[in-house]
């Protein structure tokens, strides 16, 4: 039984590290920031989840210690990985990092332009009102 569980957790760790390798491959090969952060965020998080779950299984089934810290680490990485990727991509778009020249669709451009125009008109309105006072 112990052999089975250690082999299963070893396989999970191996699978997770292969996924992490794919994610690094995507990080090198993909053409722009947004596609790269897609590779860096999703598949790296999946790989790390596999590895930590394998470690959790190994310590729970083979060594007989149920580790809350490892579970906490799994939950934390699962929550924060996508959030960090989103923040990074948002900062990249708002500082004007260009998209790949073969990208076909950009819905955020119009929305961001509208938001900037509204902010601008509100600001001029405020300035006008304060000058009138």
């Amino acid at each position: 039984m112990n052999d089975f569980w250690s082999a299963a957790s070893g396989l999970m760790v191996l699978f997770g590290s292969i996924i992490s390798l794919f994610s690094a491959f995507g990080l090198i090969r993909l053409p722009d920031v947004y596609l790269r952060s897609h590779a860096a965020t999703k598949s790296a998080t999946l790989g790390v989840l596999f590895i930590l779950t394998g470690a959790f299984l190994y310590f729970a089934a083979v060594q007989g210690q149920f580790s809350i810290k490892l579970l906490l680490g799994i939950v934390f990485v699962f929550l924060t990985g996508p959030v960090a990727g989103h923040l990074n991509a948002r900062a990249a778009y708002r500082t004007g990092v260009g998209m790949w020249d073969r990208s076909v669709r950009d819905d955020l451009k119009a929305a961001l332009k509208k938001e900037r125009e509204e902010a601008e008109s509100k600001r001029t309105e405020l300035i006008r009102r304060s000058e009138a006072d």
């Binding site: 390798l21 690094a24 790296a44 790989g47 930590l52 934390f76 900062a91």
Partner: protein
């Protein structure tokens, strides 16, 4: 049976970290470098988990948590910095 698998996965993980290092050094924009740094932190975390399994000790679990938190805070701070020009805004 398990130890060779763990050693192979350590080698694969360090290969992945080397790939991220390439993007960290070359990356055209700052956001590329931040994404690469984030991925390197996450790979480091999983390497430490594999190392703990190899040595059969649970002493490394604290390090996993701390590296996870530090990586997230670092990415958030860098993203805020390049978006607004400051990490903390006083208002």
């Amino acid at each position: 049976m398990m130890n060779p698998m763990l050693e192979i996965s350590l080698a694969l993980l360090s290969l992945a970290a080397a790939g991220c290092m390439y993007r960290l050094l070359k990356g055209p924009s700052i956001s590329d470098r931040i994404a690469a740094l984030d991925t390197i932190g996450i790979l480091l975390l999983s390497m430490i988990a594999v190392l703990g399994m190899l040595e059969g000790t649970s002493a490394y679990f604290d390090i996993i948590l701390v590296i996870g938190i530090v990586t997230f805070i670092g990415t958030t701070a860098f993203a805020r910095y390049i978006e607004r020009g400051a990490v903390m805004e006083d208002e």
